[in-house]
């Protein structure tokens, strides 16, 4: 196939990717958008296969193995485990870039070709960004899944020095790859250093900061693909990679803003700069009132507007279907039920929305924080379900680890019901004065069980 035609087909693929992303700007057009993106990918793959001189055996074997693994993962995955899956997919994207850049370097070394300065720099970048993405994503997966690596940040003295030294070492390796493309070993040293760096960067980050990390790794997987595009001088890789890179950066930025923290603080700082906060006893001592599902059912009888604020606890308890039952029951009685979604609730951007969509809650009932806060005074009952730091009013004061973080103003509702197993603190490690507020009632127990009991109590009443 003539090169011009191939390149025009790649252009069509790139346009379809852009149309696909435009489709994702509304739930109604999103399915079609995703299909357009898939079609773009199919076109790109087919025209690549039509290049002359390709031996298909190994390619087809790769398609079959990768396709089977991908399809099984996509079909089998539980919606609550979606953050893990996205983490793994990010990692595979980065891994593919490392391998393609390595293959290209080896080819040039073997045939005695000169890739040129641009391609060599791009090869080094693909190697390092790809390796960080691959291993960082695997560690993020392990943290989310709760295997091998602890959910808590792993910190040790001198950790920043270690990371800076590794970064310097990787730059030295990169320079050596560029100077002597024939020395394939140097590329692998670069990849190994990138791998260690990827692991160290992500082990140092706690579970609740995962939305930022996953968004950032998403961006890296795109940038690695774009770097590979520079290696191969291939526009469709550059365009697709930079679209994804931009997307990940925007999400990273949104997540950081929603915690009022800088990216550097999430990656290198962590919570705990200001430790002197009130102790749990001072905050809660004798002021916490608890309630029961039966009492909640009685309160519902006089309510006309109910808002549910879900958090990671809802995902852990798999409570979304029980919540849906409550939603159906209340809506049938003419009570307006809405869901207030904090941007960093859960373990990845949009995590709560996916779980509630899975439970058949219409998307127009999922309200963003900034839209629901001004009307919080008119809410009769706010149910906090497995969320903690994102509703902690102490964020409005100075000198707390979460000062300045935007929160959902549930404390302004007439009554707040906090569904939680105990008074234990959230990720920020600080007590929540909301639990001791005059208008707040604690409903201790497992989220799913409590929701089901409330549904039963309402039915019986």
């Amino acid at each position: 196939m003539p090169e011009n035609i191939t390149n025009i087909a790649y252009l069509i693929a790139a346009v379809l990717f852009i149309y696909g992303l435009i489709g994702l700007t509304h739930p109604r057009t999103a399915v079609r958008g995703n299909l357009l993106g898939g079609m773009g990918m199919l076109i790109a793959v087919v025209v690549t296969l039509l290049r002359s001189g390709l031996d298909y055996e190994l390619i087809i074997a790769g398609f079959v193995i990768g396709g089977l693994i991908g399809a099984v993962l996509a079909i089998k995955i539980e919606m609550t485990a979606m953050p893990q899956l996205v983490a793994v997919f990010n990692g595979f994207g980065g891994g593919a870039s490392v391998l393609v850049a390595g293959a290209e370097l080896y080819k040039e070394g073997l045939t005695g070709g000169d890739p040129g300065l641009q391609a060599l720099i791009a090869i080094a970048l693909s190697g390092i960004i790809g390796a960080i993405t691959f291993w960082g994503s695997l560690v993020a997966y392990a943290k989310l899944q709760g295997v091998v690596v602890p959910d808590q940040p792993v910190r040790y003295p001198g950790e920043q020095v270690v990371k800076v030294l590794l970064l310097l070492a990787s730059i030295v390796c990169a320079v050596m790859v560029v100077q002597d493309p024939g020395a394939m070993n140097m590329y692998w040293y670069l990849v190994i250093i990138g791998s260690v760096l990827g692991v160290l960067l992500v082990v140092a980050i706690g579970g609740a900061d995962m939305p930022v990390v996953i968004a950032l790794l998403n961006s890296y997987s795109g940038l690695a693909a774009a770097a590979t595009g520079f290696v191969l001088s291939n526009n469709v890789l550059i365009i697709a990679g930079s679209l994804v890179g931009a997307s990940g950066l925007i999400l990273t930025n949104i997540m950081c803003k929603a915690m009022n923290r800088s990216l550097a603080n999430v990656l290198f700082g962590g919570f705990g700069a200001i430790q002197e906060t009130a102790s749990a006893d001072d905050v809660y001592g004798g002021k916490v009132k608890s309630t029961s599902p039966e009492e909640l059912a009685m309160l519902m009888e006089t309510a006309s507007r109910v808002v549910v604020v879900p958090g990671y606890g809802m995902a852990v308890a798999q409570a979304q279907h029980a919540v849906r039952e409550l939603y159906n029951l209340l809506e049938a009685r003419g009570i307006n039920v809405e869901f207030a979604i904090h941007p960093v609730a859960g373990r990845m951007p949009g995590h709560m929305n996916v779980l509630l969509a899975e439970a058949d809650i219409p998307y127009d009932k999922l309200i963003e924080m900034d839209d629901i806060n001004p009307t919080m005074q008119q809410v009769d009952i706010a149910i906090v379900l497995g969320a903690n730091d994102v509703v902690n009013p102490i964020a409005r004061t100075d000198n707390s680890p979460i000062s300045g973080m935007p929160i959902i103003d549930v404390d302004k509702a007439k009554t707040v019901i906090v569904v939680k197993r105990s008074l234990s603190p959230g990720f920020a490690g600080i007590p929540n004065p909301l639990f001791a507020a005059d208008n707040a009632l604690m409903l201790f127990g497992d989220g799913k069980k409590v929701m089901q009991e409330t549904v039963n109590a309402i039915k019986e009443a």
Partner: protein, 103 residues
């Protein structure tokens, strides 16, 4: 293709990306991540070429069953990228169907 042309495309595509993605509502942020991730599987194009080209013929290269290191690295990249593409588009479709359906 010269470097400045590639760089121009890169920078312009980033701007296009920013313009579009800022319009994606938070409710679709998870499908956005999985869907854009599938798109970053475009590396498959480079992987296919590396896997299929017999560049080592007549050269003194180490081969395994007639395949050079480039072919083998390419093959692994095809597997990774195919997981990314197939899994990414499928799981995104699965999620978006849930958002589409209404009572």
């Amino acid at each position: 293709m010269d470097f400045v042309a590639s760089l121009t495309i890169f920078v312009l595509a980033i701007f296009v990306g920013f313009e579009i993605i800022t319009k994606v509502p938070p409710t679709l942020h998870t499908p956005l991540m999985s869907g854009s991730n599938a798109i970053s599987g475009i590396t498959i194009v480079g992987a296919i070429i590396a896997t299929g080209l017999s560049i080592h013929e007549g050269l003194d290269a180490v081969t395994v069953m007639g395949y050079s290191l480039t072919n083998i690295l390419g093959f692994l990249a095809v597997v990774f990228a195919t997981i990314n593409v197939v899994g990414g588009f499928m799981v995104t479709h699965r999620m978006l169907e849930m958002f589409k359906r209404k009572d």
